[in-house]
């Protein structure tokens, strides 16, 4: 009986830990910035919907910088600017 209980407990623990990376990935999904055409277009659509003001100007500049980095194949630089553009759209 206790062997069965131990096995069950162990299985539950293993399953719990195995699911952790997935849970972590889901919770960080909102801050995830990719450098690709889809993300650039989504950011453009977000910016179009913003009212005129400083936040829109910042977001536009950051997105332009991201596109320049993308053209130069600097993916890390591109991601960083896309992230800044996304932050500006949420202000």
């Amino acid at each position: 009986m206790s062997l069965l209980t131990n096995t069950l407990l162990r299985s539950l623990l293993v399953a719990g830990f195995a699911g952790l990376p997935f849970t972590w990935a889901l919770s960080h999904e909102a801050h995830h910035a990719e450098c690709d055409e889809t993300t650039v277009n989504a950011s453009k659509a977000d910016i179009q919907a913003m009212g005129e003001g400083d936040a829109k100007t910042t977001a536009t500049k950051e997105l332009e910088a991201a596109q320049q980095m993308m053209a130069k194949n600097d993916m890390e630089g591109c991601k960083s600017h896309i992230h800044s553009a996304m932050e500006a759209t949420e202000k």
């Binding site: 989504a42 659509a45 179009q48 919907a49």
Partner: protein, 192 residues
């Protein structure tokens, strides 16, 4: 050049332009995918058409009791159920639908340039090709004014205040039931 010849040239140029536009449309050159934004001139044109259309049609609408606390409370429940999925709310993260809609649904916790009459018109009639439904098809004007009253209040609310208002609001189904009862009474009155 004679006047007749000039007119023939203008008409020919216009016909050629129309033919080019027709071929472009038929060939499917314009990408209507929602994940590729309009070019700035097209976006400006559509936005201006929408804004002018709404302004012209909402001109004669008179707002109805927007500061009434009962109205705001009723609007809170309806907003949470019918609108927050796309227009979000204080303290709410962007939803999948709000991220995929194009044009983006405005986040109503931010202040708007629309007047209450214009907001009422948009809620009642919807907006073509934006995903905004015509709630007037299934809701009476009174319920829609509740939503407008709440939407006017929304930018002032903290996430906690929003949650409290929604929690204490009458349920959407109850309000619809009330609306249907009122409508039945009116109809039975008509027959008398």
């Amino acid at each position: 050049m004679s006047a007749g010849r000039r007119w023939r040239l203008v008409a020919g140029a216009l016909l050629a332009l129309l033919a080019v536009v027709a071929v472009a449309i038929y060939a499917g050159l314009y990408n209507i995918a929602a994940d590729v934004p309009h070019t700035p001139p097209v976006y400006w044109l559509l936005e201006t058409v929408r804004d002018r259309s709404v302004a012209a049609r909402a001109r004669d609408i008179v707002p109805n009791d927007l500061d009434d606390a009962n109205r705001i409370s009723k609007g809170a429940g309806q907003y949470a159920e019918m609108c927050s999925g796309c227009h979000l709310a204080p303290g709410m993260k962007r939803t999948e639908i709000s991220r995929g809609l194009y044009p983006r649904a405005p986040e109503l916790r931010r202040k708007t340039n629309l007047t209450p009459a214009e907001q009422f018109w948009v809620v009642k009639h919807g907006v073509k090709m934006t995903g905004m439904p015509a709630w007037g098809v299934t809701h009476d004007d009174d319920l829609l004014w509740d939503v407008v009253a709440f939407v006017r209040k929304l930018p002032e609310l903290t996430p906690e205040q929003y949650e409290t208002l929604v929690k204490n609001a009458p349920k959407h189904e109850e309000l619809k039931h009330e609306m249907e009862m009122d409508s039945d009474h009116e109809h039975s009155g008509d027959h008398q």
